[in-house]
Amino acid sequence: MKVMLSRWQFGVTITYHFLFVPLTIGLALLVAVMQVLAYRKRDPVWERLTEYFGALFLINFAVGVVTGIVQEFQFGMNWSNYSVFVGNIFGAPLAMEGLLAFFAESTFIGIWLFGRNRLPPLARTLSICVVSVATIVSAFFILTANAWMQHPVGYRIVGNKAELTDFWAVLRNSTLWAEFSHTVLAAFVTGAMFVLGVSAWRLLRGDNPDAFRRSAKLSSIVALVCVVLVMVTGDLQARLMDDQQPMKMAAAEAVYKTQAGASFSLLTIGNLSGQPVFQIRIPHLLSLIATTSWNGKVTGVAQAQHAEALKYGPGSYVPVLWVTYWSFRLMVGFGFVILIASAWALWRTRRGGKPFEFGRWTLWVLVACIATPFAANTFGWLFTEMGRQPWIVYGLMKTGLAGSPSVSVTDVAVTLGGFVFVYTALGVTDVILMYIVARRGLGPDDPDHGDQQRRPGGQPEASELVY
């Protein structure tokens, strides 16, 4: 019961946190690109776009930061057995994330935000670039920790603990590089689809069409390139998974029996345990995804269960199949929606074309597509984390044994309720504020801004109040 509540709490808080994180990583990149364009071309339009999307970035960043601390604390609070077991290995990437990424991120955001009239434009431009790099470094270290849970390497078991034996092995973990590239590219897609959707909305409102066409074009390029790469890296990851976590691959497809030349089911209605009422299947596709060969052998759930029971002792090693089956499909499906939407948007912004003059509902579709990367991200993580169950560290520790003995069920119930309440209020507020700020539109074209402090006069100039 306690572990169940703790799992719900971790699931709720991490899902929520990860709505903000990919947008932070993606928007940091796009705002940095806009700032560089503004600086290189001394272009006031890019400068205003930078400020506009920068303001949205900052609101989002704030929520990402404060919900991130909750995640770090929760390992010790709710999962103390797990923390003792993995601390030798798992703690180091968390500490490094703080040291190498969060310090740079927070300090340089402060410099970028408050340095407008105090620093030369180049210093400000470099600051936001450092922020973007730092968000990516942070993703690398936290995924180092996660990849180790999916596929532990570079360790030995001593007593009741996993001890680090080879830190390079942990950093070179094949799972890490597949996860890292996939996740960061997906974050870029998230930021790009957000900028694209907001730009489409401003175009609908007739707010600075020349400026927002630029941001729409930039973001549709980034979205299209990155979503293609997301698919490539996702495919690499599927193959790794077939090798490292055959149960998860089988669970993604809910294939019961090992088969060669396995088909991929696009849709199943009915139950997943073998008697579908209606389904659409694409022949051989699953074998292609998992093994890159037409008739490759894909392990079934039953065989994977048998193999794991032989290896780890009796017990069930099957994750919740309807979750893995549907989350996998929804992740891939939303990915394809993004591919089509971004390709279409880019096509319409091409030179010589008549950009975005083909009906308001198309622009509204792009606005609605803001939600798609968030959905794909969430389903992707639900799949990979739920698909690892019953393991918390694959093959080494089961989730059921990982909790905190000194925390009571009541404690967890109280904090779960508390987090749900606070996070709901925070989420609603965040969305409303994003809307209010986005609605204000682009700031005025004000080339004199920035000379504020050099005005003549004996009186000391009043400080600029940012907050």
């Binding site: 506009y52 900052l58 609101i59 704030a62 930061v65 404060v66 909750v70 604390f73 390992f75 010790g76 609070m77 709710n78 103390s80 057995n81 923390s83 003792v84 601390g87 030798n88 290995i89 703690g91 180091a92 968390l94 500490a95 490094m96 703080g98 040291l99 969060f102 310090f103 740079a104 300090t107 402060g110 410099i111 935000l113 408050f114 340095g115 105090r118 001890e163 680090l164 034996t165 830190f167 905190s404 000194s406 404690d411 109280v414 508390g418 606070v422 925070l426 507020t429 965040d430 504020l433 209010i436 700020v437 204000r440 005025p444 009186q459 009043a462 400080s463 109040l465 940012v466 907050y467």
Partner: protein, 355 residues
């Protein structure tokens, strides 16, 4: 324990002590400013000046806490596991406080409504007050001792943390951070706001000094489990140094020596933090039975992890100090209150990026 292992464990204990110390010195003043932004501000401009005084720093300051958490997890997993699960509800409240406080910076100015701004002003004040008190309670408990099981886990509930001495310790940290924040505002602002900050600092600094001295004396006279390896005199002397520094800081503020006063209040927090860690060593959580205390040996990671962490810290900590120092240099000026303009003051529309 053989030689190099033992010394690396001690080095990491010292390094963590340093990280916590830097955290308390830095976030200490922005907790103080957070509370004072409601207590001594007379109008909206004052409150905004308070926020902007810590604006470029507070987020970077908070990262020291994230690093302290991560480094404790990496270097002393059992300490991290026992402390974080043991202080479960207390840390939950602290997290909620840090959440509402953190978002208040970005949220406050986004809507032009008096009630809206008042809500986020309260969020900043309460969100600063709770952690300022909670950290005192947490660290007083670590020194005073908790009931630990044989496996090193806390036996008790949320209410068991509020022993009389821990409450006094919490009040001590609260007062120190208010005084530290007031001294910071004296240094960073000007005019009537700075004057009120000086009065606050003069009043609260001696109070903080008295509370620290009281907590230290109470802990020292607490009987078993007794002092650690460093002995009882060093932490007492450090706590006394903290009290002295704060008294002097309050006096210097009186004479307009804001910079020196802030340096002294910072030093005072360094001293009290050093007092906590020297009183603990070699323990990381003192035990009041039935299990043994957690120590820098029993709670630590294996040698190899400590070596990896040492290399990484040696390479990257200097960079962090360098650019955080640079940021301090860039934003070193005093904030000057805007001259009141005729007509309704446009207090909510900050210049960019929020028009």
């Amino acid at each position: 324990m053989n030689g190099p292992v033992a010394s690396l464990n001690t080095a990491w204990f010292a390094l963590l002590g340093l990280v916590w110390t830097v955290y308390f010195v830095l976030e200490g003043f922005d907790f103080g400013v957070g509370m004072l932004s409601v207590a001594i501000a007379r109008d909206d401009v004052d409150r905004r000046l308070c926020r902007n005084a810590i604006g470029p720093f507070w987020d970077g300051n908070e990262v020291w806490l994230i690093v302290a958490g991560g480094a404790t997890f990496a270097a002393f997993p059992l300490w991290y596991a026992s402390m974080f699960s043991g202080f479960y509800i207390a840390l939950f409240l602290l997290l909620v406080a840090l959440i509402v406080r953190g978002v208040s910076f970005e949220f406050r100015g986004k809507r032009d409504s008096r009630r809206w701004r008042a809500t986020w002003d309260a969020a900043l004040a309460v969100g600063s007050l709770v952690p300022a008190f909670a950290w005192g309670v947490v660290f007083t408990n670590l020194v005073h001792g908790l009931r630990l099981s044989g496996a090193g886990l806390f036996l008790g509930n949320f209410w068991a943390l509020f022993t009389p001495v821990a409450v006094v310790g919490g009040l001590a940290s609260l007062a120190l951070f208010v005084a530290h924040g007031a001294t910071f505002l004296s240094l960073k602002t000007s005019g009537p706001l700075a004057a009120r900050a000086r009065v606050t600092s003069m009043l609260v600094s001696p109070l903080g000094a008295a509370l620290v001295a009281g907590t230290a004396a109470w802990l020292a006279s607490g009987g078993p489990p007794g002092p650690g390896l460093v002995g009882g005199t060093v932490p007492i002397a450090l706590a006394a140094a903290c009290a002295l520094a704060f008294v002097l800081s309050g006096v210097l503020v009186r004479f307009g020596r804001d910079g020196w006063a802030f340096a002294l209040s910072a030093l005072g927090i360094v001293a009290v933090s050093a007092a906590v860690f020297t009183a603990l060593y070699p323990r990381v959580i003192v035990s009041r039975g039935p299990g043994p205390a957690l120590t820098v040996w029993s709670a630590a990671s294996a040698h190899y992890t400590l070596v990896v962490m040492t290399v990484v810290a040696a390479i990257f900590v200097p960079f962090v100090l360098a650019y955080q120092g640079w940021s301090w240099w860039v934003f070193r000026q005093r904030l000057i209150r805007p001259v009141p303009q005729p007509g309704p003051a446009p207090v909510t529309s900050s210049p960019r990026p929020r028009q």
